[in-house]
């Protein structure tokens, strides 16, 4: 680049400053959450809030995990999110391929528009009708009810992201495979999927995060403690006469950490996957 060395240094410094400011802005609430979760009960509700506590304790965490069974809630969230992601990935891949390669069919086009419109539906709206539907097919209070609901909500967007990516794949690869006599399904699995890995990962992450974080439907569909996911479980900490802030923050920390780690690990894929039409060699 045509720039002077000093200009470069200045721009680096400014960039670092911006990045640091933003990082603090992003991470501070999370730190506050952690710090509260490590505080003993009498230090939480004080008029002079302190960031660090002099007597950190793990009692909030142990209480939340054992007595209140939060570990079970985590297990439930993991199960529901995992299967919802799996199902939506499979279905979205098929649909995205169809939208990409068969877009000249009227029916396919119509489905695409329908998917777009479905994104405009407020979740609140679907709450009662879906509740009644789930009840009729006896799926209330089961993992399946949430898995189905979550998959339905993310399928449209996943489809569009994958379609965007598929659109950038040249036809020659598939045509070559077709000439070799492969069925469409085989083409998808053998040819398309392997190159789509980054896109699949980012789509999968998106679906996973949505399922993990969802609150309203988990709240309404599930009654049993043993199946409850983490978000409604956290809301319960806002108790009837007292709010166990220490416990609430501990539970929240536990809810955030797994996903944060996954993201840290996969962030490169995630960003790469979101790139539609990248210039690759």
């Amino acid at each position: 680049m045509i720039t002077t060395k000093r200009y470069k240094r200045l721009s680096s410094i400014i960039t670092y400053i911006i990045l640091i400011l933003f990082s603090v802005y992003c991470v501070f609430p999370f730190l506050w959450m952690l710090s509260t979760s490590l505080k003993p009960a009498d230090e939480i509700r004080t008029t002079v809030p302190t960031l660090f506590t002099l007597s950190p304790t793990l009692e909030n965490f142990t209480r939340v995990l054992t007595t209140n069974g939060f570990l079970i809630n985590i297990r439930n969230s993991l199960t529901v999110a995992f299967f919802a992601t799996l199902i939506s990935l499979v279905i979205s891949t098929f649909a995205a391929y169809a939208l990409s390669r068969y877009h000249y069919y009227k029916g396919i086009n119509f489905t695409s528009v329908a998917m777009l419109i479905s994104q405009m539906v407020p979740g609140v709206l679907l709450l009662v009708p879906l509740f009644v539907v789930m009840q009729k097919i006896h799926l209330l209070d089961t993992y399946l009810s949430l898995i189905i609901a979550y998959a339905t909500f993310v399928i449209p967007l996943c489809t569009f992201i994958l379609k965007g990516f598929f659109d950038t794949l040249p036809y020659d690869l598939e045509e070559a495979a077709e000439i070799d006599g492969c069925s469409k399904l085989r083409i998808i699995f053998k040819v398309i999927l392997p190159i789509s890995v980054p896109s699949l990962i980012s789509t999968g992450l998106y679906a996973f995060v949505h399922a993990w974080n969802e609150f309203m439907f988990a709240y309404v569909f599930i009654n049993s403690d043993s199946i409850r996911t983490i978000t409604p479980a956290i809301k319960i900490y806002q108790g009837s006469n007292i709010t166990d802030w220490g416990g609430l923050m501990a539970a929240s920390s536990l809810a955030v950490i797994p996903v944060a780690i996954i993201f840290l690990f996969f962030q490169r894929y995630f960003i790469a996957g979101m790139t539609s039409g990248s210039v690759k060699g």
Binding site: T152, Q238, V259
Partner: protein, 310 residues
Amino acid sequence: MKSKEKLKKQRITRDQQKRWTALFLISPAVIFLVGLIAYPLLTVVLDSFKHVNLVNNSISGFTGLENYIKVIKNEHFLRSLYNTGIWTILSVVGEYLLGLITAIALNKRLKGIGFFRSLIIIPFVVPIVVAGLTWEWMLSPDFGIVNYLLVKVGFIENSVNWLGDSNTALLTVTFVNIWRTFPYYTITLLAALQAIPKDIIEASAVDGANMMDRFFKVIFPQLKPVSMVLIGMHIIWTAINFDFIWVMTEGGPYYASETLPIQIYRYAMKEYDIGAASALSSMMMGMMTIGFVIYFYIKKVRNNKVRGIN
């Protein structure tokens, strides 16, 4: 001729085979959509024209436009509409600005950039319930760290009841929403930035463009398509968002932060008036559809214009 007929037959069956494949591929998605979105939506639109009560099954019957009139006449309807507009526009603008700035910053090849990238994504990963409650705790006028720090540094004189004062409630919730959502923009814009071919930028530099020109005239136009999609999606998502505001203020104080989805929930779950809730929902979807159609129409006109020039 025999071979010609054979070819014809082959083509027909190949075409049919294609159709079947397409159908097969798209059907699972369609089943989900129809069963779990289209069908409930249909019931909602139908219900908007009836008397339906969530708990009292004896209330029934067609009412024509009565529900719609009731909704419009509601003393908080206009306020709700206005709030939804402000909440949506401010959120999206704020998110876009922050997203763009961070995307540019993260696009540099500096040491430790990966670390910063991970940190900045964090708000997006936090469940809404958790974000809402944590910020609520931090913004508390009596025990919150935000007020404490602001007063200490001297930005404000006394603690401000951010979520409890009708003047600041909506803005505060918008602020928290921006905090949570902007990383999504960051990721998308970053990906788009990285996809811009470096030669274009270098070429413009060679042509003597300074930094401002480089950005506004070369880089920014490349971001336009992605930005349009991003903004379009988020306008919709923000307008229909319920969880956030509900967790932090429940639409209060005294409806100061009430938006349309909150009102819908209120009609359905607090007043048990499914008819009104359905009417308001249908209206909301209608408005968004109209907005969408207008958007597409404008895009088409612009595209045609461009093509016309070419």
